[in-house]
């Protein structure tokens, strides 16, 4: 019978990504609920020395696949290797991060394993020994609780920044195992030609701890300077509504919402954004929401923990001054 919880680690250029710690932490909780072991799969090149520390977040074992062909990530190589490991190891639960890479990997892996898959989940539980996942649907207008029917492993991906991360316990370390795998070059049909680094130097919105977002109320691209001043001070990334993106004021990668990024920062500050349903879809799992808008009837105030009715061109610079007192 399928046994144990497995999670797939995500690394880039040899550095473990934060989403990995989030799903290892969540995997630990599920493994405890089942009274079973937590195994992490780690793929990459020259990556083995990063394996043991995953024990600090709760991993019992780390299965390492170290191979130059596994750096950088490609769908075909990773799915080929991981599907082999999963078939051999037969875990009960397989947990992935719903990052860009994790979504790509998990969607194909689920198809290869011919199992059900719950994408972009915000909560997990073990009920009667089975995984129950909760996930927003219709852009968060409803949530679905889902389980798996004759489908092992029970496979799910966790929305970034939603799962609580365990305090690392430096006294713990995981058992590191060299996994038995083979990778046939002939299987690989895609190749990464180039990696274009984002110039802004800002944390991606999906991983940002704080976001300051501007909409049509910003009136023009040049005015984002006042948001950047605030953002730089508090360590936030800049987001935008679709109106601002479609007006050409901000790049597509900044768009938050149903056809943009889904974000869950600790702090989301919406400036000059009315709060259209499609925008709310992208940010309603934020922990603290602030809205600054001159229209007191703007729908964004219904979702905001703290609303400021006022002209953003006065309020935002004043806020930038005020937060300095607390830094």
């Amino acid at each position: 019978m399928a046994q144990g919880v497995w999670t797939i680690a995500e690394q880039r250029d040899g550095a473990i990504r934060k989403i990995t710690y989030e799903i290892v932490s969540e995997g630990r909780r599920l493994a405890d609920a089942l009274g079973q072991e937590l195994t992490v799969i780690l793929l990459g090149s020259n990556i083995k020395d990063k394996a043991a520390e995953l024990g600090q977040y709760g991993a019992d074992k780390v299965l390492v696949c170290d191979d130059p062909k596994l750096e950088p990530y490609t769908t075909d190589a990773y799915v080929s290797v991981i599907s082999g490991l999963v078939k051999a190891g037969d875990p009960a639960i397989l947990l992935v991060g719903a990052s860009v890479e994790g979504k790509d990997l998990s969607s194909r892996l689920a198809a290869r394993l011919d199992v059900g898959m719950a994408q972009d989940c915000t909560a997990f539980a073990v009920e009667d020994g089975n995984l129950v996942a909760t996930r927003p649907i219709y852009a968060g207008k409803a949530y679905a609780r889902v389980s798996f029917e004759n489908s092992f492993p029970q496979m799910a991906a966790a929305r970034p920044k939603v799962m609580e991360m365990n305090e690392p316990d430096a006294s713990k370390s995981a058992e590191v195992i060299d996994a038995d795998f083979s990778l046939d070059d002939g299987d690989l049909k895609t190749k990464v030609l180039e990696v274009l680094k984002d110039e802004s130097g800002k944390v991606d919105l999906t991983e940002a701890d704080k976001i300051v977002s501007g909409g049509r109320g910003m009136k023009g691209p040049e005015n984002y300077k006042i948001l950047e001043d605030l953002a730089d001070l508090i360590g936030a990334s800049i987001g935008a509504s679709r109106s601002a993106v479609d007006a050409g004021w901000r790049p597509h990668t900044d768009q938050v919402g149903q056809t943009g990024k889904v974000v869950s920062p600790n702090l989301y500050v919406a400036c000059g954004i009315s709060g259209a349903i499609q925008h709310l879809a992208g940010m309603s799992t934020s922990k603290v929401i602030v809205a600054i808008n001159k229209d007191e009837d703007a729908p964004i105030f219904q979702k905001a923990d703290y609303g400021v009715v006022g002209d953003l061109f006065d309020v935002v610079p004043a806020l930038t001054e005020e937060v300095k007192k607390y830094l």
């Binding site: 075909d76 389980s147 180039e194 999906t206 597509h252 056809t259 005020e322 937060v323």
Partner: protein, 264 residues
């Protein structure tokens, strides 16, 4: 080039979503159905590739008869033919079931490129594209914002933004591409386009026509089971930050963010 675009019909993003009496599905009475927004990018990109390289664009939709309208919309934008996969036995299929039926409908069409949306804005799963690619044993390129097909039509180069960087990826063809916002600006159907669309071929296929066994589809065959739908967790009511001047309000807000919310 032979290009296929998969097209899902979804509730308009403005729609209110009400949970039905069974607690596991939504009420569809007042829903306005539209083409999944991400599929519009797929249709547009397919048309642009056709304009540049020549060829044919086929749109495929799976679902009840009403999906015909979205297929006609794509035909009016300029696609050449449509396929509607429709069978009562498909109702309630999960991503794997949907992908199996779509793959069966397109496997003999010798596609060079297949487009799907990066996700349907209904279930927000984003699984069907990868599953089709798996069943057809071709590479998938997901969340793509730029597509360049080589002159010889044998390879494709795509831009794939990930957190903090953009990967430029080359793949052999055929391949499946999932469309992300930023790929293009979809065109509107023109009036002559709408007139022409009425005469374009639109084939309807049942599971039987595709040689598939109805028992493998529908709610009964789901591997991902919906236990229940629940309303979104309610956020605790917020406050309007008090103050007479913008400065007062800003000061009060900063204090709240520090003392109460503890995010500063």
């Amino acid at each position: 080039m032979n290009i296929i675009v998969c097209l899902k019909q979804v509730p308009d993003t403005e729609s209110q979503i009400k949970i039905g009496p069974d607690g596991a599905s939504i009420m569809t009475d007042d829903v306005k159905w539209v083409m999944n927004p991400y599929d519009e990018y797929g249709v547009e990109e397919a048309l642009r590739l056709k304009e540049k390289h020549g060829g044919e664009v086929t749109v495929v939709g799976l679902g009840p008869k009403r999906v015909t309208e979205s297929i006609r919309t794509a035909l009016a934008m300029g696609a050449d033919k449509g396929i509607l996969v429709s069978d009562e036995a498909l109702d309630g299929s999960d991503a794997l079931g949907t992908a199996k039926a779509i793959a069966a409908a397109i496997k003999d069409l010798e596609a060079d490129i297949i487009f799907t949306g990066q996700r349907g804005v209904d279930d927000d799963q984003g699984l069907v594209g990868a599953a089709i690619a798996e069943l057809l044993n071709i590479p998938q390129l997901s969340l793509i914002v730029k597509v360049e097909v080589a002159e010889d039509g044998k390879t494709v180069k795509v831009d794939r933004p990930i957190e903090g960087e953009t990967l430029v990826i080359e793949s052999s063809l055929p391949a499946l591409i999932t469309a992300q916002k930023g790929l293009n600006e979809p065109r509107y159907a023109s009036l002559p386009g709408i007139m022409k669309a009425k005469k374009k071929p639109l084939a309807e296929k049942s599971l039987g026509d595709l040689g598939l066994d109805a028992a493998e589809f529908g709610v009964g065959a789901r591997k991902l089971k919906i236990l229940e739908l629940i309303p979104p967790p309610s956020r605790k009511a917020g406050i309007i930050v008090p103050g007479d001047t913008p400065q007062d309000k800003a000061a009060a807000l900063a204090k709240l963010l520090h003392d109460e919310a503890k995010v500063l």
